[in-house]
Structure formats: structure tokens, C-alpha cells
């Protein structure tokens, strides 16, 4: 459109207002969309992080729980949250592991007559594993104790009964936690003399000089999951009963292991030990991102190795 004199004029007021309105609407829509996308992305990143962490925890727990030995005691320890974030939940159990036992021959003591050297012997072994949630630190930690058996050549070794030796080659059993949580079932406040998890097969109580005992185990714990604001463990026992462990109460619960020879301990409190072994372990992990408050709960269940049918006592069979 041309005005008189060959000049073009700009937009009319209506056109200008329409353009501005459309521009403002577009800008508003894009700003709102941007903010929403930013929030969604923040939430998604937080969730992705938590899912990846949870997957790692699942994988680790799966490996640990599937290697659970039914002939070792299993301990559940909880501390109640008094409102200031003092809660804790621990699961401690005996599990199988692949072990490298290094041993050194000297003066051709080894029966085969090998040259003096250090040899590595790969074998399956057992050690104690612990999972612990610390509410204050918001961490889920895990670890295993130092090798509970050490292979060495030392004819002068005088250890407690139970060590195995032949021609100067010894498996030294370190002071690992006891496999029997007697009396059964034991429910006692942490720190009381009844809580026997700190005891060990050396009878030397829990002290810093012992390798492979409970204190050694707790020293080896390392956080593998952060921002954990809740942790709950539930175990379904072979007899159908359920054992709970969360930060609502303070207790130490010890579950006897069945004996390594396939038999059960004598009935304690009228319950056979093999019936009080977990066959399904459930965990509930609550995570929260400290920056944006995004929360996510993860529930995982693990089947433990079955307790095989066995006999107990003399001439008796399991009903």
C-alpha cells in the first residue's frame, strides 16, 4: 500500500497491536514451556541418578544375598530414630566368596617339594558381610570382614581348636563372629551383654587387634549409596513368619545358622533353626535428592538359597 507522494507507510495501530500481542503470547508460551521443561529435566536427572544408584545397590545385594550361607548366624540390628535422625539398620550374615589364599613355602616344607616361593591358591571361602544404613549420614554402606582364614606355613603356630593343619601348613581361623546366635531368638538392646554379635570364636571379645571379628567388619564398611533417607528390611522365614527391621525400634535380633554338617541345632524355644532361616529377603530403600527434594522409593526382593531337607538328632527326620 502506498501513500500519496510515493511513500510507504508503516503498520496501522491495529496491525501493530496484533503483532505485539502475538509476539507476547509466543514469548509467554515459550517461557512457560522452558520453565516446565527445565523442571522436568531436573526431576528426570535426579530420578535417573537414583535409578542408576538403585540398580547398583540391587546388583550388589543380589550377589551378597544369593551367596548367603544358611549355616551362619544372621543378625539384624536396628536403632530407633529419636527424632533427630539417629536411626540405623544393619544386616550381617555369613556369605560365600572367592578367595585368593597366598602362602609361602620355605625350606621345602611343602610336601610336593616345590621351590621356595609365594603361591596363590584360588578357592571358595566364607566371610561375614554387612549392610548398614545410617540415617544421620543418609548412606547405605556395605563391606566384608578381613579374610576369616589365613593360610600359612608355621609349624610353631598354636591356635585355638578348630584350625586345620598338616605337616606345618595351617589354615588359621581368625576370630570371626560366632555362627550360633545363642540364646535363640535373641532380642536385646544393642550394647547389652546379651547382644553377642561382638563375641567371636577366640572368646576375646570385640577389640581393635582382632582381624575378621565384628569390629573389623564394621571398620571395613564403606558407603555405596548416598541420599538414602529410609531403609527397611523384611525377611520371610521358612516357617512363614516375618521378621522386620526398620528405624522404629531399637533391637538386636540374631538368627541361628543351621549346622555345617546339614543338621540343625537342638530345638531352642521350641523352634528348629532351619525353620527360622530367611528364604525371601525384602528391602525398601527411600532416596531423596538433597538439591531439589525429588524422592523415589525402591523395593527389591531376593530369594536366599534354600535350606535343603536334612535330619536332626538321632533317627529323626524333618516333619
Amino acid at each position: 500500500m502506498k501513500a500519496s507522494g510515493g511513500q510507504r507507510h508503516g503498520m496501522t495501530l491495529i496491525e501493530l497491536l496484533t503483532s505485539v500481542t502475538i509476539g507476547v503470547v509466543l514469548a509467554t508460551i515459550s517461557t512457560v514451556a522452558f520453565i516446565h521443561i527445565l523442571k522436568a529435566q531436573t526431576r528426570l536427572l535426579a530420578r535417573l541418578e537414583m535409578h542408576n544408584s538403585a540398580r547398583f545397590a540391587y546388583q550388589s545385594m543380589s550377589e551378597e544375598f544369593s551367596a548367603l550361607q544358611q549355616d551362619g548366624a544372621l543378625w539384624l540390628e536396628t536403632t530407633a530414630d529419636n527424632g533427630t535422625g539417629t536411626g540405623s539398620v544393619s544386616v550381617t550374615f555369613l556369605h560365600a566368596m572367592l578367595d585368593e589364599h597366598g602362602f609361602t613355602t620355605n625350606s621345602q616344607r611343602w610336601q610336593g617339594g616345590e621351590i621356595d616361593a609365594t603361591y596363590q591358591n584360588r578357592c571358595t571361602d566364607l566371610n561375614w558381610c554387612c549392610w548398614r544404613w545410617n540415617q544421620q549420614a543418609r548412606t547405605l554402606s556395605t563391606g566384608v570382614n578381613s579374610l576369616p582364614r589365613q593360610f600359612r606355613i608355621n609349624p610353631a603356630w598354636v591356635g585355638p581348636a578348630g584350625d586345620f593343619g598338616s605337616t606345618g601348613c595351617w589354615f588359621v581361623n581368625m576370630p570371626q563372629p560366632l555362627r550360633q546366635a545363642v540364646p535363640y531368638p535373641q532380642v536385646a538392646p544393642i550394647g547389652s551383654s546379651q547382644a553377642a554379635l561382638g563375641g567371636n570364636r577366640y572368646g576375646s571379645s570385640d577389640n581393635t587387634n582382632d582381624l575378621s571379628d565384628y569390629q573389623d567388619l564394621t571398620n571395613n564398611l564403606s558407603p555405596i549409596l548416598h541420599d538414602v533417607v529410609g531403609f527397611h528390611v523384611e525377611m520371610l522365614m521358612s516357617d512363614g513368619s516375618v521378621v522386620d527391621a526398620d528405624a522404629t525400634q531399637t533391637q538386636t535380633l540374631g538368627l541361628d545358622g543351621v549346622l555345617v554338617n546339614g543338621q540343625c541345632t537342638p530345638a531352642l524355644n521350641g523352634v528348629q533353626a532351619y525353620l527360622k532361616r530367611p528364604r525371601l529377603i525384602r528391602v525398601l530403600i527411600d532416596m531423596q535428592n538433597p538439591l531439589n527434594g525429588v524422592t523415589q522409593s525402591f523395593s527389591f526382593s531376593f530369594r536366599s538359597a534354600n535350606v535343603l531337607p536334612q535330619s536332626y538328632g538321632t533317627g529323626k527326620s524333618i516333619p
Binding site: 510507504r8 496491525e15 509466543l26 529435566q41 542408576n52 538403585a54 526382593s301
Partner: protein
């Protein structure tokens, strides 16, 4: 003689805004696609772990107040569904054969979706050996 100057016409402004709008829409779509990709990555992280969990346990541990889970019962036989670990999960266990007295071998299948009517992100099928009615 000074040449005549003119501003943008209305059509030009509208065309310009249209181009901007298309650009914005493209940016939003790309971001949405990125989020979708992230969601799928998340699904790959824990979906199979969730499927394995529900396979062996028809009643996984949950918060009693917020749980959205319908259980088939203690035996696990039947259809169980609900939300767990951020996924919608459907578990179907059928009454199977009895290979030996006191035991049953039941087929179990678990499907994990990213939403109630969302896409399938993980699936697992196996047989579970039960002693009596225990899970």
C-alpha cells in the same frame, strides 16, 4: 531527493513470528525427545531388577500408606498389578503342575510398563517351585 523509507509490513511481522514459533516448537520437541530418551534410559536401569523382584515376590515391601498394589494373595497365584519403583507392573502366576507331593511348579510372567497404558520396558517369564502355599 531522499529515498523513501518504510517499516515492516504486517505480513512481514506475522511471517517473522511464524518462523520464531516454528523454531520454538522445534526446540521444545527436541527437549521433549531428550526427556523421553532419558526416561527410557531410566527404564533400562531398574526395570529388569523390578521384574525379577516381582517374579519371586508377589507382595514386595512397600510403604503401607502410599502403596498402590493389588495382591493376588499369599500363594501368589492369580494376577497382581500396581506401581513399584516408578513402573506399572503386571504379574501373572498360573496354577502349575505338581512334580512331587507337596510341591508345585507354577509358570510366572511379569511385564513392566513405564505407565498404566505405557510401553513395555521389561518382561520376564519363568517357573517357580513352591513348597505348599509359600511364595
Amino acid at each position: 531527493m531522499r529515498p523513501a523509507r518504510s517499516g515492516f509490513t504486517f505480513i512481514e511481522i506475522i511471517a517473522c513470528l511464524l518462523v520464531v514459533a516454528i523454531g520454538l516448537a522445534a526446540a521444545v520437541s527436541l527437549t521433549y525427545y531428550a526427556i523421553l530418551t532419558g526416561t527410557r534410559a531410566q527404564a533400562k536401569a531398574t526395570a529388569m531388577a523390578t521384574a525379577l523382584t516381582v517374579t519371586c515376590d508377589p507382595a514386595p515391601l512397600m510403604h503401607s500408606t502410599t502403596a498402590q498394589w493389588t495382591s493376588a494373595g499369599a500363594s501368589g497365584v492369580g494376577t497382581t498389578s500396581g506401581w513399584i519403583n516408578g513402573y506399572y507392573v503386571v504379574r501373572v502366576e498360573s496354577q502349575g503342575t505338581s512334580p512331587i507331593n507337596g510341591f508345585t511348579s507354577n509358570p510366572v510372567s511379569v511385564d513392566v510398563y513405564d505407565n498404566v497404558r505405557g510401553s513395555l520396558v521389561a518382561s520376564y517369564t519363568t517357573r517357580l517351585l513352591h513348597q505348599g502355599n509359600s511364595p
